[in-house]
Symmetry: none
């Protein structure tokens, strides 16, 4: 990874056009071929960047970066304060736990936590406008479409509503009820769901995992 600290101005011409007046900034060139220009703010987001694959043509006071779709990033270097190149080696990789897919997988194995007597028909049940996260049946055999989100907001209710519209046209399934499941559901989403006759269930990821673990221990 090469780190250059320099006073520079930058022009981007691509999906849009952007200009950066002269100032001191960090230019980061990664081993993957990417380049990004950071100021001392905006958290992790650079002011300008180019994703790989791209080619960097360097002259002493001007770098020209070209992307594969013709985007251009022109960096005019006015004064280089520091320039270092340190190899970091391979990244062993980031391990994540607790994303929506995990929550959906846990719920698929524990449909009882969505509603007493619920049984799973299938995950990712297909419709014309995309797959429903879970299709279940309740204790009386009524079909239940389940939308799973980490955070329950209005968009999720809209999404489930669309699925229900389509599912209810299938005479083998209709009538289909909807249940919105999330770790936290915003008040407005609850109101909209109630208005549309959609049930809301808030679940705790760790508890769900705990329940599953203790269940598994029994086998």
């Amino acid at each position: 990874m090469r780190l250059v600290i320099a006073r520079c101005s930058v022009d981007y011409r691509g999906k849009l056009q952007a200009h950066l007046p002269s100032a001191d900034r960090l230019i980061m060139v990664k081993a993957d071929g990417s380049i990004s220009i950071h100021s001392d703010d905006r958290a992790y987001k650079p002011l300008n960047w180019m994703n790989p694959p791209c080619t960097i043509t360097q002259e002493p006071d001007r770098w020209l970066v070209r992307g594969k779709k013709g985007e251009e990033l022109e960096i005019t270097l006015e004064e280089v304060h520091s320039d270092s190149d340190i190899p970091l080696g391979a990244e062993p990789g980031l391990q994540k736990d607790g994303v929506e897919a995990h929550l959906q997988a846990l719920l698929a194995e524990r449909t009882e936590s969505i509603g007493a007597g619920f049984s799973l028909v299938r995950r990712e049940y297909p419709t014309e406008i995309g797959p429903v996260d879970l299709l279940c049946r309740d204790a009386d055999g009524v079909a239940i479409a389940v939308e799973v989100k980490r955070r329950g907001e209005i968009d999720g209710v809209e999404q489930l509503t669309r699925y229900l519209d389509f599912l209810n046209r299938d005479p083998r399934l209709a009538p289909v009820r909807g249940v919105f499941v999330a770790e936290q559901i915003k008040p407005q989403a609850k109101v909209l769901a109630a208005d549309r006759g959609i049930g809301c269930v808030e679940v705790d990821y760790d508890e769900l995992r705990g329940i599953e673990s203790s269940e598994l221990r029994l086998f």
Copy 2:
């Protein structure tokens, strides 16, 4: 901006949980209080980060970063290869040009490209739930609500549907038809639009600008 290059392992406990095994990485601490951990790949996206406001507690071999909502980032430093702190000063700011607003402006001047015989009533036509991008009338005088997007996805169809619901309550306008305009419209969005009786029009930004240029040349 402080730049530390070190062999480290990282644990994040917050919205999700994530773990980084030991490896050489760049740790960037910005003047805005943010911190991010970069490997030599993934372009500009860090492996882990914390946005301001957050507090960083530093011990020689362990940094603990706490966010305001209880998120934690724990960095275990195993070997520091370099540690430098360079003040960058204020960022004068990024100037952008050529975003969605421009597309809307072009379409407002060329309502014919949305539909033959269309005329503009006004841009940003107000409704209770926000302004419709364009309100037009077709050759027969029927009101047309137009939603403009750079990329046409399902959300845009939902947005236009909401506007139509409200506009159709106004007896001076009703019945109002909807047309969804974008540079590209996704298949699922087309299905939903068709289902709701909303028209879809795909336009080419450069061509539109070209047409406009040649038109202007005639005057």
